[in-house]
């Protein structure tokens, strides 16, 4: 009893540490990716100076944020002002803990899931965490004792409550099909090719779209970033925040993005399941991709324009080729492939987030509300009803 | 077979028009009202075609409406919401929905300039619903539902012009008189349940053979009381003439074609009872012939065109009951059908005349309309020859069948019937001559009615010309009625036809050849003329013997004594006492919520104490 118990505790701690570390770096680099992508959408290089192609930019940002002066305006409500960013980042990270990245792996003596813990109410847990997330922003807005911040806080709380409904309804539809609330089982029910995914097999296109839209609003992303609309509210709820406290809001936003993207992957895109079974060679897709990029980099390295690239391109090319090679090792394939697919799907959705940000203008506030209450909500409700009806028919 | 659709369609029409009609444009109201009825007519046709020759009644069970007691014991009452179609029902369904549709179409033209348009059509649709329930219902109770429903609609529609005193009075009169009849009907139903332990036609009626003739006679007579109320027979006919206060389409649909024949339907439906209780049947025949004769004589002296046709309706209903009473149920129902055609036509034609003369109803101010409104004139001529019993038109066949049966029953009734036939021909001819021939006596500018009004007239005209030999109803209904041995007796036919022709001839003589002769005759026979002109003073008689005492009693005893003294006294006393108590309790109302909360908390503590120490918490 105790041995297992201890090992459980230890394993959990290790997993927590690993996930935390990975997540933090991902957050930092997601920022870099975003800037790069937007830059290329707008036909400009983006961050370029710090490191090759600005690869070290996040590092620089982190240092900048940490070393900045951390000032607390005198007229704020101290307790909540300090608590708000902490609350925001905590709630953002909390939901990661139930998200499964892959199947069981065996590391030395212990076999464990690539997931911190599996609740049989995992989905509800994520919903709960995200619904708590609003407090961070609302409190920040209120505690800053500044009318722009207050408006930002009000907007975000109203907006989050409003968009939670269609989101929940959109989540409910695939749950009906998979007939479980545990994220792990949810993925298991979608195994065996993309025609079993809830998006395709379940025909949940509508709820997928609704979910993505609501996710944009929940994470206060363009085109729903009313709470921090510069041209109306300076910087919205985090006007008064600086340095690490600002950074934690920042991280919270990106962590939420990752969470919702992961949720979308799990709910609709079959999680870590390959788009088609291994016997049809889905296992060769990742190595091919990496190999392709490696070769491309090598090729570019041959006629590089800047002198940096003469070193960096080939280096990265070789790294990619090595990764491609690793993918071919049978003993690691067991956990590497699922991880790849999960990350690929999540990354694709994240790319959509960034893409949209680079593309769409911002809503007007009344449009925002009318859109969810008069548009999304009824459609989601209808979709849920139809799905329930079909499921009932199928089980008959 | 989805029988339920037949009544549901008009009900839907009623609901739609009744709820949203106020906001609808007239065209939409028309579409809903007429459409629903026509649809249900089409559905009836489809259903009957699908059912083919109804050798066996087709029954549809929907749900158990009332259930009491345990199955098996005699007190076990189970009333299902069942619909039944046999040949009798089929005939009535066709008449009700068919004539109903025509009259709906007509009404869209007739009511075009009236207020409360949507209300009128909502009521009309509701009436259709109840009438169809009445004929479709497979048990006496369901029939009774429709029975009361049509009574209600008739009340509503008679009082349609509720801002006119006489209209509302007529409505009340109809309603109250019908209550008497319904009372009899209800008693009859109790007896039926008591003796046959069921109210379903298929269960109850076959047992009639087993019961004693006395019981059956009582049941039959009580049923006849109900029929008297609904179908305006002596002594309860007085409401029908006043019912003409309603709009003319209502008079045509409810008070000529369909509702008033409900009594005939009901008696024909329970023919087994009468078959085994000849005494009751005889009474019916006598009532029928008496009504027929009396109403016909009254009809001779009326000047309001609608009143004439109203009394004619009463008289024709009398004929039908003669048929029922003398065992010729088929003939009675046949007369219902033909009468529906020509009487509806007469009323609609009268309506068209009234419409043409901007509401003029007195025949003394009409005349010479033949040229002005030819279509109306020619269509009404069809009805004229039909009701006058001129062969080979519809009225002739049915009336003749009845009279033949009556002769078998008792020659006396036959002879009175023949005389009545003559009188009938006379007063209809009188009406026609006064209205359409001679010199215009009014100062109006008549205009022909729009097509939407005269097309139904034309259809009805064709039907009343050809209805007799097209639909041989008695042949169709032979199986379900007890057989009667008919003897071909040409002389009877000649006599009745002769009577009809004679009536027309006299009318022609009195109103065409020598106008004014009528007045001289009236002057010569002062007393009888006054008698029939004042409808035998029946209304006055009822007023003196029944109405006044009842009113007086209610005013003195019930109102002054019971209501004002007892009930109001009690209520006011209670009110006063509670006000006193409240004035004391009011002091608690500090308006401070927290003090209320404190009170609640105190209550909670007390509750816990009590429960705890009485062991309620263990």
């Amino acid at each position: 009893m105790d041995a297992i118990f201890d090992s459980f505790i230890i394993v959990s701690i290790i997993k927590a540490l690993v996930i935390f570390a990975v997540l933090m770096t991902t957050l930092a680099y997601l920022q870099w990716v975003e800037r790069k992508v937007i830059a290329h959408v707008q036909v400009r290089p983006g961050p370029y100076r710090v490191g090759p192609h600005g690869l070290l930019q996040p590092l620089a940002d982190v240092i900048k944020l940490i070393t900045k002066e951390d000032l607390v305006p005198p007229y704020v409500n101290k307790v909540f002002y300090l608590a708000a960013p902490f609350l925001a980042i905590t709630m953002a990270l909390l939901s990661i803990s139930v998200i499964p990245f892959g199947p069981i792996i065996t590391v030395g003596p212990v076999r464990t899931w690539m997931q911190m813990t599996d609740l049989n109410i995992g989905v509800l847990f994520v919903l709960a965490a995200s619904s708590m997330g609003v407090y961070g922003i609302a409190l920040a807005g209120w505690a800053s004792n500044n009318k722009y911040s207050l408006l930002g806080g009000l907007r975000s709380s109203a907006q989050m409550i409003s968009y939670e409904l269609p989101m929940s309804l959109a989540i409910a539809a695939p749950l009906l099909i998979s007939n479980t609330l545990s994220l792990r089982d949810l993925v298991e029910t979608q195994a065996g090719g993309f025609w079993h995914w809830n998006l395709v097999g379940g025909g949940q296109v509508v709820s997928f779209i609704i979910f993505i839209i609501a996710a944009f609003a929940e994470t206060n992303r363009v085109p729903f970033d009313l709470p921090e609309a510069e041209n109306e509210l300076v910087a919205g709820f985090h006007t008064e925040y600086s340095s690490m406290k600002f950074a934690s809001f920042f991280m919270a936003e990106y962590a939420n993005m990752i969470t919702v993207s992961a949720m979308a992957t799990l709910l609709f895109l079959g999680g870590w399941m390959a788009p088609w079974p291994v016997e049809y060679g889905s296992s060769f897709v990742p190595p091919l991709i990496f190999a392709f990029f490696g070769l491309v980099l090598l090729y570019h390295g041959k006629q590089a324009v800047r002198k940096w690239d003469k070193i960096t391109f080939p280096a990265f090319g070789i790294i990619f080729l090595v990764i491609a090679a690793i993918f071919l090792i049978p003993m690691v394939q067991g956990w590497l492939l699922p991880l790849f697919w999960f990350l690929a799907k999540t990354g694709a959705i994240l790319f959509v987030f960034i893409w949209i940000r680079a593309t769409l203008p911002r809503f007007r506030y009344d449009q925002l509300m009318a859109f969810t209450w008069k548009g999304l909500f009824p459609v989601a409700m209808l979709n849920l009803l139809i799905t329930a009806f079909l499921v009932a028919l199928r089980t008959k | 077979m989805q029988l339920w659709l037949i009544p549901i369609l008009p009900l839907a029409g009623f609901l739609i028009n009744g709820i949203f009609g106020r906001r609808f444009p007239k065209s939409l109201v028309n579409v809903v009202a007429v459409g629903s009825v026509v649809l249900s007519f089409l559905w009836v046709v489809k259903t009957l075609l699908a059912l083919g020759s109804l050798q066996e009644p087709h029954l549809e069970h929907y749900f158990t409406w009332i259930q009491s007691g345990t199955a098996g014991d005699p007190g076990f009452l189970q009333v299902n919401c069942d619909f039944m179609v046999d040949r009798l029902t089929a005939v009535f369904l066709l008449v009700v929905t068919g004539v109903g549709s025509l009259i709906h179409i007509y009404a869209t033209g007739y009511m075009a300039h009236e207020g409360g348009y949507y209300r009128f059509f909502a009521y009309l649709n509701l009436f259709m619903f109840f009438m169809l329930v009445l004929v479709l219902g497979a048990s006496f109770l369901l029939l009774f539902v429709g029975w009361e429903g049509v009574g209600l609609c008739s009340y509503l529609l008679i009082g349609f012009y509720f801002d006119k005193k006489f209209a509302t009075d007529a409505g009340n009169k109809a309603f109250i008189v019908n209550r008497i009849g319904d009372f009899g009907f209800a008693l009859a139903m109790f007896l039926i349940f008591r003796n046959f332990h069921s109210l379903e036609f298929v269960k109850a009626l076959p047992q009639a053979a087993t019961a004693t003739e006395g019981t059956l006679a009582v049941i039959g007579l009580l049923l006849m009381v109900g029929a008297c109320g609904k179908s305006a027979q002596i002594p309860l006919y007085v409401w029908l003439p006043d019912a003409m206060a309603g709009p003319t389409p209502v008079s045509a649909l409810i008070h000529a074609a369909t509702m008033v024949t409900a009594g005939v339907y009901m008696t024909a439906r329970s023919n087994v009872i009468y078959h085994h209780a000849p005494g009751a049947a005889g009474v019916i025949a006598i009532i029928g012939i008496a009504t027929a004769f009396m109403a016909a004589t009254i009809g001779m002296a009326q000047n309001d065109i609608k009143k004439v046709f109203a009394y004619s309706t009463v008289s024709q209903l009398g004929y039908m009951f003669v048929g029922i009473g003398s065992g010729a149920y088929g003939a009675g129902v046949w007369h219902v059908v033909t009468h529906a055609f020509f009487k509806a036509l007469l009323f609609l034609g009268a309506g068209s005349v009234i419409h043409a003369l901007e509401g003029e109803q007195d025949m003394r101010h009409m005349g010479g309309l033949r040229k002005k409104i030819p279509i109306t004139f020619w269509t009404m001529c069809c009805a004229w020859v039909a009701i006058a019993g001129i062969p080979p038109f519809s009225g002739f066949y049915s009336k003749d069948a009845i009279l033949a049966a009556a002769y078998e029953h008792s020659p006396a009734i036959y002879w009175i019937g023949v005389i009545t036939a003559g009188i009938t021909a006379f007063y209809v001819s009188r009406a026609m001559f006064l209205t359409f021939f001679g010199e215009p006596r009014g100062h109006h500018h008549p205009h022909e009615s729009p097509p939407v009004m005269w097309i139904p007239l034309a259809i009805l005209g064709i039907l009343s010309l050809t209805g007799g030999f097209l639909f041989n109803v008695p042949e169709y209904l032979k199986e379900i009625f007890p057989p009667i041995h008919e003897v071909e007796n040409p002389t009877l036919v000649y006599i009745s036809v002769a009577a009809g022709v004679l009536g027309i001839a006299i009318a022609y003589l009195m109103y065409m050849v020598k106008p004014g002769m009528a007045d001289s005759i009236a002057g010569a026979l002062k007393a009888p003329y006054q008698l029939i002109y004042n409808k035998y003073f029946v209304d006055e008689l009822y007023d003196a013997t029944i109405v006044k005492p009842v009113v007086a009693g209610s005013r003195v005893v019930l109102w002054k004594g019971v209501d004002a003294g007892l009930i109001d006294g009690t209520v006011n006393g209670v009110g006063a006492r509670s006000r006193d108590v409240g004035s004391i309790l009011r002091l608690l109302q500090s308006g401070n919520i927290r003090s209320y909360a404190a009170w609640v908390l105190a209550g909670g503590v007390a509750l816990i104490l009590v429960m705890g120490f009485t062991g309620g918490l263990r």
């Binding site: - | 009011r586 109302q589 500090s590 308006g591 401070n592 919520i593 927290r594």
Partner: protein
């Protein structure tokens, strides 16, 4: 060192929370705070519901709790709307000044 929690502790906790809710209702004069005290009492009751359903080994208590939540949501919506209206009309949130029902 006892290894499991006596069920009475849960009930006592619920009682304490309820009493605190009542206290809030009695002693606070801000309408919103009073309203929140009501929510607190509801939560206390929910806790005892769930505890009792553990005691009875049925999940009826959970259902009751669920319904209480639903009703609480509806109540919050309407109540807060009322508070907004009161504030709009009277310009105060002090419950003692909202006594137009007096006498």
């Amino acid at each position: 060192m006892l290894t499991a929690v006596p069920i009475s502790w849960y009930l006592t906790l619920s009682a304490v929370l309820f009493a605190l809710g009542v206290a809030g209702f009695l002693f606070r004069r801000n309408v919103i705070t009073v309203f929140m005290s009501i929510e607190l009492m509801l939560n206390a009751v929910n806790l005892s519901f769930v505890t009792f359903s553990y005691h009875n080994k049925t999940n009826d208590g959970h259902l009751f709790t669920f319904f209480v939540m639903v009703v609480a949501a509806a109540e919050a919506a309407v109540g807060l709307a009322i508070i907004l209206t009161v504030f709009k009309n009277k310009g105060t949130l002090n419950i003692d000044e909202v006594d137009s029902m007096k006498n």
